[in-house]
């Protein structure tokens, strides 16, 4: 019979004790087994390699229309980021894709992709929340763009050597302008209207060169046309009245409406002409920059056609404002059936080819006409780890421009720090942005300030400006000086009666030429030449930016 008194025999205790001791000792060896499981370094390197391949060797998805053209509303259709020009050109990156990839914001989708979620889903992949930093260094321009957090001590890493394809561009300068200046666009009569046209012959562009690394394909990369030094051609004021696009397909011309998103830039502005143009002409034009978005060209479905870009300039006498007849850049006769000049009815047939001098400017592979796309050396680095280290603020801004100076005039002592002439007060009525703006009024007044740009280049000058001017001939101007105020360059003038003379603030942004950078005497000024009470100018949110050397 079993002894069920509930007492344990000593032998049982001994046996069980021996078992327990051995068990404890063996279990304590298990952590030693797990030492080899510090495999994060292996995992992170593999993820970094994979991301490096996706970015450097793949063009992303979707390819057509290209993912970099997608704005925020279509963001979820972007499946995968990729910077390569095409799947046949690995390690050759597209500048457009690079710019779009490195436009980063943590909050504002209109600025760029949201960090980090958008990048996780489209470049890093996987469920594990890796932290990462992706950098692209342009070895030729010494420019670095990056997205991501600060590097920790230990991380997975891959480095790829790449080429970055520059975009092609054409600059039509004084020499060309002078050689192609004629007096008339009309039939026999001197004219104040001049029509200049450019040709993009897609059949030739895509047929002559098939290697995507050297091909000019306007439906894939942005093309830029700069028409400069127009003021040198004539003493008259030059107004850009219109730009029209025509497509020649199988002998038939058709007009393609130019959307406001592809409006030209004038006079070095960073902002395209507003949608009120061309109803109101752009006045006092010295240079015109045309930049067409690839998706706009792609939407024309013009792979086998010719695209004509036709610009209409009106010359006006600078004193009287009346039409001014004189020579100016033109290569096109704008005539209708009756031989009467009629720009609005360009049918292409009579317009191009009648006059031996009227061949459109050909955007082609001739290096005299067009600066060909070049390949620059670059280095792409991908670092992957886990654990947050904080966003690298030095390089998540768009491009690598930093703010040198800004003033929103909200401070109670505004415009402190500025040199004031006449009446310039802090104004919290309409219009203002934030807490207040600066109002210049009634008598000739200005505010100016010296901002040293030593150590910076690529200077940009942005501000909000508006006016309410009730007397003809009065205006306000935004100006900059490279010599401390001895001579001034006007970037924007708002006259009585202009669209911006509406008692509201409008944004303006300009890229300044090289003399604005590396300059201890760089000075900006806002000036109103009012003499009557009631004429007012408003200035707010002045920002001067530059790229550090």
């Amino acid at each position: 019979m079993t002894d069920d008194y509930g007492t344990l025999s000593i032998d049982f205790l001994v046996g069980f004790t021996i078992f327990l001791l051995a068990f404890i000792w063996v279990i304590s060896m298990i952590p030693g087994l797990l030492i080899g499981l510090q495999s994060y370094t292996i995992d992170y390197d593999a993820v970094a390699y994979r991301t490096g391949v996706i970015l450097a060797e793949d063009p992303g998805w979707p390819v057509s229309p290209a993912w970099e053209a997608y704005g925020d509303p279509q963001k979820f259709d972007v499946i995968r980021f990729g910077l390569a020009l095409s799947k046949d050109t690995p390690n050759i990156l597209s500048q457009d894709k690079v710019n779009r990839f490195f436009s980063v914001s943590t909050t504002d989708p209109s600025v760029g992709f949201i960090y980090p979620d958008d990048y996780h889903q489209r470049a890093i992949f996987g469920d594990f929340p890796y932290s990462f930093k992706i950098s692209l260094s342009d070895l030729t321009n010494f420019k670095v763009q990056s997205v991501g957090e600060r590097l920790p001590d230990d991380y997975g890493y891959i480095r790829r050597v790449v080429k970055i394809k520059e975009m092609s561009y054409a600059t039509i300068d004084n020499v060309y302008d002078t050689n192609h200046s004629y007096i008339k666009s009309g039939n026999g009569s001197a004219s104040s209207t001049h029509v200049f046209s450019l040709l993009i012959n897609n059949t030739k562009l895509l047929g002559e060169v098939t290697d995507p690394a050297y091909q000019i394909d306007p439906s894939r990369e942005q093309i830029t046309i700069n028409i400069t030094e127009l003021k040198n051609l004539t003493p008259a004021d030059v107004n850009l009245a219109n730009v029209k696009i025509y497509k020649l397909d199988s002998g038939i011309y058709s007009n393609v409406p130019l959307p406001a998103s592809n409006n030209p830039y004038v006079n070095g502005s960073n902002v395209r002409l507003p949608s009120s143009w061309p109803a109101t002409a752009a006045k006092n034009v010295d240079n015109v920059t045309l930049k067409f978005n690839p998706q706009f060209i792609d939407s024309m479905k013009a792979q086998n056609s010719n695209i004509f870009i036709v610009l209409k300039f009106d010359l006006k006498d600078s004193v009287t404002g009346l039409p001014y007849s004189g020579t100016f850049l033109n290569n096109t006769q704008a005539l209708d059936n009756l031989g009467v000049m009629n720009y609005d009815n360009l049918d292409g047939q009579k317009t191009f080819g009648n006059n031996p001098n009227s061949t459109p400017f050909d955007y082609n592979y001739n290096p005299d006409n067009v600066t060909q796309p070049k390949l620059r050396d670059g280095v792409l680095e991908v670092a992957v780890w886990s654990g947050e280290t904080g966003i690298d603020n030095t390089s998540t801004s768009m491009g690598s421009s930093s703010t040198l100076f800004s003033d929103n005039f909200d401070a109670a002592d505004a415009p402190a720090g500025w040199t004031v002439t006449g009446i310039a007060d802090r104004f919290s009525g309409t219009p203002h942005d934030g807490a207040a703006s600066i109002r210049l009024r009634d008598t000739p007044s200005d505010i100016s300030r010296t901002i040293s740009t030593v150590g910076y280049s690529g200077i940009s000058f942005s501000f909000n400006m508006g006016s309410k001017i009730n007397h003809a001939g009065r205006y306000i101007q935004a100006q900059w000086s490279s010599d401390g105020g001895i001579s001034w360059n006007t970037v924007k003038q708002i006259n009585n009666g202009d669209p911006e003379d509406d008692n509201d603030l409008h944004p303006f942004s300009y890229s300044l030429p090289a003399s604005a950078g590396e300059n201890a005497n760089f000075r900006v000024r806002f000036i109103i030449n009012a003499i009557n009470p009631g004429d007012k100018a408003y200035v707010d949110n002045v920002v001067v930016g530059g790229i550090a050397d």
Binding site: S9, D11, F12, G15, I18, F19, V144, V161, D377, V379
Partner: protein, 187 residues
């Protein structure tokens, strides 16, 4: 008591019906046996699991090889259409332009996006076939420093077409293809 197993002889005395209670020994024995099994297993297992070092995983080899291949590929891509690639121009001279190769190649593989430079060394040569026939010859292009044999190096290669106007591997003024080989290692 006299038990035969204890070594005393049974002399015919009366055997008492006394039994030792060995029920608990069962537990002890089982406990010891179980303990021994576990300890032996642990010993075998701990001896069998290997610890991998970073070198065993060949990660750094892979990174180096990808970098070297990229650099040679970039050197063989012309900057503009109709231009000659740098690698082709280097091999197309007699003797090969080692100085140019040194500058360009080191710049490409040691450049980093952040601050500082990497420390990667190399030895480069090209191999060609002697025409006519099947024998091959190897010529040095340049090296950054002599390889002392202790470093773990990776080899990357690139095909290059050249058309030298001087006698080259048995032909002159003929399109030829050579294999540029570069051994790279990290200092």
């Amino acid at each position: 008591m006299c038990f035969p197993e204890k070594g005393c002889k049974k002399t015919g005395t009366r055997r008492r019906a006394v039994q030792e209670n060995t029920a608990g020994q069962l537990y002890t024995i089982e406990g010891i046996a179980a303990g021994l099994i576990m300890i032996m297993t642990a010993y075998l297992v701990v001896n069998a699991t290997s610890v991998y070092t970073a070198g065993d995983t060949h990660i750094s080899d892979m990174q180096l090889e990808q970098l070297g291949s990229d650099a040679l590929n970039i050197m063989d891509t012309p900057e503009t259409m109709n231009a000659q690639s740098e690698l082709r121009m280097i091999i197309n001279t007699s003797p090969p332009d080692g100085g140019a190769f040194n500058t360009i190649f080191l710049n490409l593989i040691n450049g980093k996006a952040g601050t500082g430079n990497d420390h990667i060394q190399y030895t480069a040569n090209y191999t060609c076939r002697t025409d006519p026939g099947d024998s091959i010859e190897s010529h040095l292009i340049s090296y950054s420093r002599p390889m002392t044999g202790g470093e773990h190096a990776v080899r990357v290669t690139k095909w290059v077409t050249v058309k030298p106007s001087f006698p080259f591997c048995g032909t002159t003024n003929t399109n030829r293809t050579v294999l540029a080989e570069v051994l790279i290692w990290r200092d």
